[in-house]
């Protein structure tokens, strides 16, 4: 893989941002978009636009086919058994809300327990929290070890006879820890427990194989995957999606509507109520094809090199403290600088054209555990180079200078 060639596919890197070349280290938040994706949105609206799945005219049929092509591409990319196991949502957040809500309606009983982890993003905690009130569900937390990892042993330790669901991140957006999802699923299934995976950070950076992973649900955020905003994917095993009730009611999700009864459509329509993010779905096909053309093995190798390089660089930098040191780590470098608040760090780095994120990264539980109000986070994507990490390090040094450290 020629990284410079890959980077050229992303038009934003031709732009000067506040007179600087862009050093974009915020891909865990959202990734930049390759030209093929941007062009596809433009082309669809310019030449092919119609709503999907409703009208019989030429454009409607053609758009429906394009829309369904993306479903097939996603199925292929994540190796799902059935095309109808792919549901489009407005984001991974909606995907997780859909799962929590429908399992809450039809599966969970009062007093049941759900196991999540201290690493979870708020979107894999708050939807379950709703069930505390409505269903009297208890939520347990698997705790991180000193390296910021969640081990299989810790999961096992926290299971009780009442645990009905384990909902975990595939890759932590703060410590970068990659969880042993396959092993956790094996353990869970041996006890009849459902496994839900927040794949927001996993999907863009790891090889996905739903049949091998065997989890019951997997939520994907398309905008972190070099795709458009406003779109997510929920993978769900067919038996669950068939068994669970619909999430939202409206057009497109019904079979028959009468004054005294309503029957719902088949999968996947049952979960796609209303006009969907048509252009985004159609453009997302290009994101998948782009990732396939680069090759996920190349992506993983490149990002692993970057993270190792970045980690070494920051470890050598006095007063920088990395958060977590997982053995199996994705492309996230979260850190604190003693004596400088993360928001000051982010503002000063921005002045040098280095875009990072500061805050709690929607993981307040984790930051409370670490006893810090916030952290700075540099996260890599397919377009980053070692040079970007050198610039990060230089900008950190500049920041220390301003603060007389």
């Amino acid at each position: 893989m020629n990284i410079n060639q890959v980077k050229k596919e992303f038009p934003i890197f031709d732009e000067k941002i506040q007179n600087n070349d862009l050093v974009y280290l915020d891909s865990a938040n959202s990734s930049q978009k390759p030209k093929v994706v941007i062009d596809r949105i433009n082309e669809f609206y310019t030449k092919q636009f119609s709503n999907v799945g409703r009208s019989v005219h030429y454009l409607a049929v053609a758009a429906t086919n394009l829309y369904e092509n993306t479903r097939t591409s996603v199925q292929r990319y994540i190796n799902a058994k059935d095309k109808n196991e792919i549901v489009f949502t407005k984001g991974a957040t909606e995907a997780l809300n859909l799962v929590a809500n429908t399992l809450g309606q039809n599966y969970l009983q009062e007093g049941d327990e759900i196991l999540i982890t201290e690493l979870e993003h708020h979107s894999n905690y708050v939807p379950w929290h709703f069930l505390r009130k409505s269903k009297n569900i208890k939520i347990n937390f698997a705790e991180i070890n000193n390296d910021g990892e969640i081990t299989l042993e810790e999961i096992e330790k926290k299971l009780t006879p009442k645990t009905k669901i384990i909902s975990i991140t595939h890759l932590s957006n703060v410590t970068g820890a990659i969880l042993p999802v396959k092993e956790i699923t094996e353990l869970a299934h041996s006890k009849g427990i459902i496994v839900v995976v927040d794949g927001c950070q996993g999907a863009p950076h790891l090889k996905l194989d739903m049949q091998d992973l065997d989890c019951d649900f997997y939520a994907i955020s398309c905008h972190k995957m070099y795709g458009p905003t406003g779109l997510g994917v929920l993978y769900g095993k067919k038996k669950w999606l068939e068994e669970l009730p619909p999430y939202q009611g409206g057009g497109g999700m019904i079979n028959e509507v009468k004054k005294d009864r309503i029957s719902y459509g088949d999968l996947p329509n049952k979960y796609e109520a209303g006009t969907m993010a048509t252009a985004q779905v159609i453009a997302f096909d290009q994101s998948i094809k782009f990732l396939e053309s680069v090759g996920i093995d190349n992506v993983m190798k490149h990002e692993a090199e970057l993270v190792e390089y970045g980690q070494e660089l920051l470890q050598k930098n006095n007063s920088v403290k990395l958060i977590g040191n997982p053995k199996n780590k994705g492309g996230v470098l979260s850190f604190t600088i003693e004596g400088i608040h993360p928001h000051d760090v982010a503002t000063i780095l921005d002045e040098d054209g280095v875009a990072i994120r500061a805050g709690h990264h929607c993981c307040q539980i984790l930051h409370d555990k670490l006893n810090i109000p916030a952290s700075s986070r540099a996260s890599v994507g397919i377009y980053n180079t070692k040079d970007d990490l050198d610039k990060l390090n230089e900008a950190i040094n500049n920041c220390k200078k301003i603060f007389n450290l």
């Binding site: 608040h341 928001h343 000051d344 000063i348 109000p373 916030a374 301003i402």
Partner: protein, 154 residues
């Protein structure tokens, strides 16, 4: 004013050695503020006398250099003012940090205005304005005995 100047002035003046940090003895008014986006926290304590003059003021909190320096400068300027003057200064500061090029208040001496103006550079960084305004909104809340925590969105 560039970023470097903004940070150096603030830090040299107040960021590293905040004034009036801690809890005022026998305060009779207080309020808490929180900036949900950044996680900045501030708790402002006031001791008002019978003539509604701020006899003492202090703050506790944690946050970025801009929020801490702003709280420090605020407590410095408000001490000794009466409630009416203090609220005018708050209004003036909030106007300045968002759009006004200068401070208008007749309640501040020239050297006090200079001190406050060193925060004016923050307006170039819209995402950080709420860091600078948090303690000021919290001060008003303390005067008005509002029980709810202040949440700044801007």
């Amino acid at each position: 004013m560039n970023l470097k100047e903004l940070y150096q002035e603030i830090i040299l003046e107040h960021g590293k050695n905040p004034r009036n940090l801690g809890k005022t003895d026998d305060f009779n008014k207080d309020a808490k503020g929180h900036n949900p986006l950044c996680g900045d926290n501030v708790h402002v304590y006031l001791k008002l006398n019978g003539q509604k003059i701020v006899e003492d003021i202090s703050f506790e909190g944690s946050g970025c250099a801009i929020s801490m320096a702003s709280a420090s400068i605020m407590t410095d300027l408000i001490k000794g003012k009466n409630e009416h003057e203090a609220k005018e200064i708050v209004e003036d500061f909030l106007g300045m940090i968002k759009e006004n090029p200068e401070l208008k208040s007749d309640n501040l001496e020239d050297d006090e205005k200079t001190k406050l103006m060193c925060l004016s550079g923050v307006k170039q960084y819209p995402m950080r304005v709420k860091c600078a305004t948090l303690s000021w909104h919290t001060l008003v809340s303390a005067f008005d005995d509002k029980k709810e925590e202040v949440k700044t969105e801007n």
